[in-house]
């Protein structure tokens, strides 16, 4: 869904003939999509859309309704100029790129994690119309069932911290992927440490 939204957005930029902005968006998108691609869960149904399919659809014709939809999204996010849109894109990318990390078998937030969460709170306060998915992850050690629960506790720790910071809990969704979506595939402590994380995604 995120990919399609962004693809529509990209299409809207092209049609407006704002070449420079479009190019910037493409650059931003490259980073954006690269990140999104790693994180978008595989659909639980047989009708899963292959990665990248959304871009082709979005770049096609018949965009009028979608343009209106995107304009509504801009309005919803409070973005009234291209500069504001760019600023949002940049901050959204940072928001999604910065994971928080945990110790082994722990869902306690350390000082670094709290610092990152403070930044996320600033972003969400600035753009209160976003929906945030907090995804808890674990390294592969330990059993899958326990890790599924541990991942949820990690996501909930972040959720609670943000709510305590004054963020409306309704716009935050805490989910867990347990040990099923590692970032790093190695079986060394550095890889394990990267995988013990909560990742933040934006749903428009």
């Amino acid at each position: 869904m995120l990919k399609q939204r962004l693809a529509k957005w990209l299409g809207w930029g092209r049609r407006s003939g704002q070449t420079l902005v479009c190019a910037l968006l493409v650059v931003a998108m490259a980073g954006f999509m690269g990140c999104a691609k790693k994180q978008v869960p595989v659909s639980g149904t047989a009708a899963a859309v292959p990665g990248g399919g959304g871009i082709q659809q979005g770049a096609g014709s018949g965009m009028t309704e979608e343009q209106l939809g995107e304009q509504a999204l801009m309005d919803k996010l409070g973005l009234h100029s291209e500069a504001e849109r760019q600023a949002f894109m940049k901050q959204a990318q940072t928001f999604k790129n910065d994971d928080i990390h945990f110790d082994y078998d722990s869902y306690v937030l350390n000082a670094e994690a709290k610092g990152i969460l403070d930044q996320k709170a600033v972003f969400v306060r600035k753009y209160p119309a976003v929906q945030v998915s907090i995804e808890g992850h674990c390294d592969e050690r330990g059993t899958s069932e326990y890790n599924l629960a541990l991942g949820e506790r990690r996501a909930k720790s972040a959720w609670q911290y943000l709510v305590n910071s004054g963020i409306d809990g309704k716009i935050l969704d805490a989910v867990s992927y347990g040990e099923e979506r590692p970032l790093a595939s190695g079986r060394d402590e550095a890889s394990f440490a990267r995988n013990r994380r909560a990742h933040f995604d934006l749903i428009y």
Binding site: G142, T143, A149, A174, G178
Partner: protein, 441 residues
């Protein structure tokens, strides 16, 4: 996917299982007690079966090999290499008074199986006898007749007869193991026969599907499936592959276990704020909450009578195994060694709980009594060993291990002997759950 059960019932009707000899020995002698740590696998010789006519000569080696594999999978026997046998197997007799037991004893065999067969048209007549080579006696003998396509079933039935004669209990023949097949990002539920043959997918949706658990009927499986970002519990019919959503509560819908004899199941839900174990009815409705903690409560597993529940709680700060008396509500911790003990699996007889524990940095399978006594490490050596599940006869434990690199399903006898690899697929195999005995028995 077609159901296998009905065809076997036809086989049962067609198949004439004639007990050729009464075996009073059975009552007199309990050959082995596999619960004794001192138990050692019993060496058995299975020379090529004897042809009674010229049809299907290849069956001579195929059938004896098949029986060897079946007995090997029980973990109780050590199959002697036929290359060490003396003489032409076609020239050796199949009846008690024609066998020179001294020769077989010298080869190290405690037991000997002799078989002979005759093929006429599609019909196969297969006669097999198990001899006690030490005592020089017949233990059990059977004659099976049926179509040639039913020969694997005949072999498994006789292997079952052998196990019954030797241990007083039936084996695991005809049972299956459900597991998670991991290939890239896909995690699908698969089934494999008890002996590692016939791996087949049960789900094929390229999603994340985890924690398969058999219904006591052996007809369906509950598992955890992701839809989008969220987990749901699904019940899938093993025969037809049709499935339905069993639970989709807010938050986590994780690892479930059917309650034997009660038409209920326990599942991990986090709708109350953190992962706790709930009792659900067969439609997925909440009967009541079983654990109430501020910590993680997961991995429910029932005692065979359905009165007690083993589960994992992190209330001490790290995961440990607990046992809950469901009626009274009292719960007690049973694992105290180490700081990471999870995945309890109650034995079919109720006498032990197997679990995954961390020892010296690696994960190993342990066995403990439900009262917390008699803790014993079952696996050791290279790699991590996780997610134990008991065979229905209680003699074997299947688990996932990465001792040869990628995770695969392995099987060991409960005393730690007879370790063997069950799956040889690409990708990784995890979270095995052994089916109950099917209606075939």
């Amino acid at each position: 996917m077609t159901r296998k059960v009905p065809s076997f019932w036809i086989l049962l009707l067609v198949l004439v299982g004639v007990s050729l000899w009464a075996s009073p020995l059975r009552a007199q002698r309990v050959y082995i007690d596999i619960n004794q740590p001192s138990f050692e696998q019993m060496p058995v010789a299975i020379p090529e079966f004897k042809r009674q006519n010229e049809q299907q000569p290849r069956y001579a080696g195929e059938l004896s090999g098949m029986l060897g594999n079946a007995l090997d999978s029980s973990g109780i026997f050590r199959i002697l290499d036929p290359r060490g046998f003396l003489g032409d197997p076609q020239g050796i007799g199949v009846e008690l008074n024609t066998i020179r037991f001294d020769d077989w004893r010298r080869l190290g065999a405690d037991f000997l199986v002799r078989g002979q067969y005759r093929v006429e048209g599609d019909q196969l007549a297969l006669e097999m006898r198990l001899f006690d080579a030490v005592a020089g006696r017949t233990v059990v003998g059977k004659l099976y007749t049926g179509s040639q396509g039913e020969r694997r079933r005949m072999i498994q039935r006789f292997a079952d007869e052998i196990l019954f004669a030797i241990t007083g209990e039936r084996g695991n023949f005809g049972t299956r193991i459900a597991f998670v097949q991991q290939q890239g990002k896909d995690r699908e539920i698969y089934l494999v026969d008890f002996d590692g043959s016939n791996p087949v997918p049960l789900t094929q949706d390229h999603g994340i599907n985890l924690s398969p658990a058999w219904h006591p009927s052996g007809n369906k499986i509950v598992y955890v499936g992701f839809q989008g970002r969220h987990t749901k519990l699904f019940a899938i019919d093993v025969g037809s592959g049709s499935r339905r959503v069993l639970a989709e509560y807010p938050g986590l819908n994780a690892a479930a276990a059917w309650r034997p004899g009660h038409g209920e199941l326990a599942a991990t839900l986090s709708m109350g704020g953190n992962p706790d174990i709930y009792l659900l009815n067969e439609s997925g409705g909440v009967v009541r909450q079983l654990t109430k903690g501020w910590s993680i409560e997961v991995s429910p597993c029932w005692s065979p009578d359905g009165n007690r529940l083993a589960y994992v709680s992190s209330e001490t700060g790290n995961p440990q195994v607990y046992v809950l008396e469901v009626a009274g509500g009292s719960s007690r911790r049973i694992t105290f060694q180490g700081t990471y003990n999870t995945d309890p699996a109650w034995s079919p007889k109720g006498d032990f709980i197997a679990y995954t524990g961390q020892a010296h940095g690696a994960f190993q399978i342990f066995v403990i009594r439900p009262d917390g006594s008699g803790n014993r490490q079952l696996t050791s050596g290279a790699g991590n060993n996780e997610s134990p599940t008991w065979s229905p006869d209680g003699r074997l434990i299947a688990f996932s291990s990465d001792r040869e690199g990628s995770r695969a399903i392995w099987v060991t006898v409960v005393n730690g002997q007879g370790l063997r690899r069950l799956t040889h697929l690409g990708g990784e195999q995890r979270m095995p759950d052994w089916s109950p005995r099917t209606t075939e028995k």
